[in-house]
């Protein structure tokens, strides 16, 4: 592995973590979707670079799925849904931006400590990729936890899956079956969500999870 190849891969994976942080503090749905599109675009760039470096042409497929499907189609569709539902207002975050960002920093530190410590034997690129990927996964979870709105929870989930794709491409020579399945599962997940969103709107005229949370199951 040449120095430059490693540096570029490192830069792109690091950028993905950075964009994940940007997801954390967006307080408008439009902005959140735009940042998510950027997230997917960075992922596509990173996967393309991996495909080139590893000389693994099948990874180009994964990269183009990330670019076309995740960075372009999904954000556009979600934009439309938001307009249709008339919810392009502010997102209520559960805790303040400062605390959330601190939490994010803590999670990144945690994933660095865990992943770098257990992988001294693996090649440096895979190591750092895994550490970054775990950070993206954990920040995705944090986004899901801190948001009340169904659309932004979905965005959090999709950023989490981006982290998984980063990990899968970083693991050199991982069979194609998994990459396609990852992309495919995003597709299925999205269809499911789409159905859900429409049903939810149909029934309650709201996609705010707080409205759903009124139901606690045991109340009479």
């Amino acid at each position: 592995m040449h120095g430059l190849q490693f540096d570029v891969a490192h830069l792109l994976a690091g950028s993905l973590v950075l964009v994940s942080f940007m997801l954390l503090y967006q307080d408008r749905l439009y902005a959140l979707l735009n940042v998510y599109a950027a997230h997917a675009a960075v992922l596509a760039a990173s996967v393309t670079w991996q495909a080139y470096v590893q000389d693994a042409p099948h990874l180009y497929v994964t990269a183009s799925i990330a670019l076309i499907f995740k960075a372009i189609i999904i954000p556009i569709v979600l934009h439309r849904i938001i307009v249709k539902l008339g919810i392009h207002r502010e997102i209520e975050t559960v805790v303040g931006v400062g605390l959330t960002m601190l939490g994010g920093i803590g999670l990144v530190a945690l994933s660095m400590v865990v992943m770098l410590r257990v992988t001294p034997g693996a090649d440096p690129l895979a190591r750092e990729d895994l550490a970054f990927a775990l950070s993206v996964v954990l920040i995705g979870l944090l986004v899901m936890v801190t948001r009340r709105n169904a659309v932004s929870q979905v965005v959090g989930f999709m950023s989490l899956e981006n982290g998984l794709v980063l990990a899968a491409t970083g693991a050199k020579g991982m069979p194609l079956v998994v990459e396609i399945s990852v992309a495919f599962s995003v597709l299925i997940a999205f269809i499911v969500i789409g159905i859900f969103l429409f049903r939810i709107r149909e029934r309650f005229d709201s996609v705010d999870m707080q409205a759903l949370d009124r139901f606690r199951g045991e109340r009479r």
């Binding site: 990927a133 989930f157 990990a167 859900f196 049903r199 139901f215």
Partner: protein, 478 residues
């Protein structure tokens, strides 16, 4: 070349396509039963002629047990589902279009569960479990009421997070295998992984197992990751509650057991047992106490499933031939009993028009067969002698007492607390003042009593062939 192994996948796949295309619920309900029966018979034939395992599909003693159990309960549930869905159409709760969708999804779920069980590839297994999850999400939300949608949404979000963590663990296992096995397909194949597991990097395997335990553990319904389970059980159609409790939890458990075997083969990796024992105990005791505050009957039995999955995971976590045997037996008995209970509860909820425990009463007077069926089911699930669950729980507890008396004490506490909770509620529902309509139920009692009689028989006499089979699997699990 089509052998029994591809058969258990092909039949549900074809069934799903057919059922999606055909109109008319009477016909499709029967076809659903037929497809499930054919799958079950194919699965049984695995014991007669064992097909060869390839890089994608695998058959061994461990998954044969799971496949036969899964296909059997699928078959009986399909029978129950036929009468259940008929009633739902009559009262207009489901439209024919939704029923067509429901039947197709039922077969897709069978396909996904069978695929997860026969997959020889950790990636393929993950895909199958994800498919099974998404299918059940759709089925839980099928009534489209406020509650059903919230339950499906909660299940979807928590299930996806669990599945995502499991994929990360899967990737880590591949990373651990790659330097030893080499790049590509074979670093994800079970049969290759187990032969070389001793050479893997132990630290990487440890981290992988933590992710897999949290990920698949969410699907098993282990506390504190169980939040989706009661909602999904209570709000979906009852046949799906039966399949969720009886089968899907087992499939996730199967994935966990496979990875546990992998870790056990590496002497330097951490022992997976204590982690599983801890989570199992927490689930068992927590769910036992939660049983007391339930007001919805399906929700109550969902908590009882968490309790029993806790006991099963505990048993497998203890390890050793005896505890593994007990765990396997308990898993089988729980699947059969819990699905029988859900069959009964489904019919009860239909005739009474409610699932609220407070509105149910005196069932043994108004509907003697259903009422006594429920009593028998609860007696079985609470672990009273001479039924099957008593025997398996007794084995779990006694094998633990010999090794870790303290752990056994906590486990017994959980079981007894659960028994109290179940009987407290059963008393009002089955005896007490009769409440609600007393119109006779149009129910099919065959699946319910088939399960209960197997459980009853198992409590008295276990066929030697079954015992040797389970003993072999128990040795395999280490």
């Amino acid at each position: 070349m089509i052998d029994a192994l591809t058969g258990v996948l092909l039949i549900p796949a074809v069934g799903a396509a057919l059922l999606a295309a055909l109109p008319g619920y009477r016909l499709t309900a029967r076809l659903n039963v037929l497809a499930a029966l054919a799958t079950f018979l194919t699965a049984v034939s695995l014991f007669v002629v064992e097909p060869r395992s390839g890089p994608y599909l695998l058959v061994d003693d461990l998954n044969k047990v799971f496949i036969v159990l899964t296909t059997f309960v699928s078959f009986t549930t399909a029978m129950f589902s036929a009468s259940y869905i008929g009633h739902e159409i009559d009262i207009g709760r489901l439209t024919p279009t939704f029923v067509r969708f429901y039947h197709a999804m039922y077969q897709v779920l069978m396909f996904a569960m069978n695929l997860a069980l026969v997959a020889n590839n950790i990636g393929l297994m993950w895909v199958a479990i994800e498919t099974a999850t998404l299918t059940t999400v759709l089925m839980v939300g099928i009534y489209r009421t406020h509650e059903a949608l919230e339950a499906a949404w909660k299940y979807f979000i928590l299930g996806s997070v669990g599945i995502a963590l499991a994929l990360f663990g899967t990737i880590l296992v591949y990373m651990a295998a790659r330097p030893v096995v080499g790049e590509g397909l074979y670093a994800m194949v079970w049969t290759v992984l187990v032969t070389r597991a001793a050479e893997f990097d132990p630290a990487l395997l440890n981290v992988a197992f933590v992710f897999l335990l949290l990920g698949y553990g969410t699907k098993v319904g282990l506390a504190p990751l169980h939040a989706w389970l009661p909602d999904a059980h209570a709000e979906g159609p009852t046949p799906i509650s039966a399949v969720l409790s009886g089968l899907l939890l087992n499939v996730a458990l199967y994935a966990l057991l496979r990875f546990k075997m992998l870790l056990a083969l590496n002497p330097a990796a951490l022992a997976p047992g204590p982690l599983m024992v801890t989570m199992g105990l927490i689930s068992c005791v927590f769910a036992a106490f939660m049983l007391y505050r339930r007001r919805d009957i399906k929700r109550m039995f969902a908590y009882s499933s968490i309790e029993h999955m806790g006991i099963i995971v505990f048993a497998f976590g203890m390890g050793g031939p005896l505890a593994n045997f007990a765990g396997l037996l308990h898993m089988t008995m729980h699947s059969l009993t819990k699905s029988a209970i859900f069959f009964t509860v489904g019919h009860i909820a239909q005739v009474k028009g409610t699932q609220k425990i407070a509105d149910l009463g005196g069932l043994t007077v108004t509907h003697p067969v259903l009422g006594w069926g429920l009593v028998l089911g609860v007696v079985a699930i609470a672990g009273l002698p001479p039924l099957g669950i008593f025997m398996s729980e007794f084995l779990v507890v006694s094998s633990t007492f010999a090794r870790q008396p303290w752990l056994a004490t906590i486990l017994v506490l959980g079981i007894l607390v659960a028994l109290g909770g179940l009987f407290l509620r059963l008393n009002g529902v089955a005896f007490g003042e009769p409440r609600g309509p007393a119109t006779p139920a149009q129910a099919s009692y065959v699946p319910m009593f088939a399960h209960l009689s197997i459980v009853f028989m198992a409590g008295i006499y276990l066929p030697p062939a079954l015992v040797t089979g389970f003993e072999n699997v128990a040795k395999l699990l280490g």
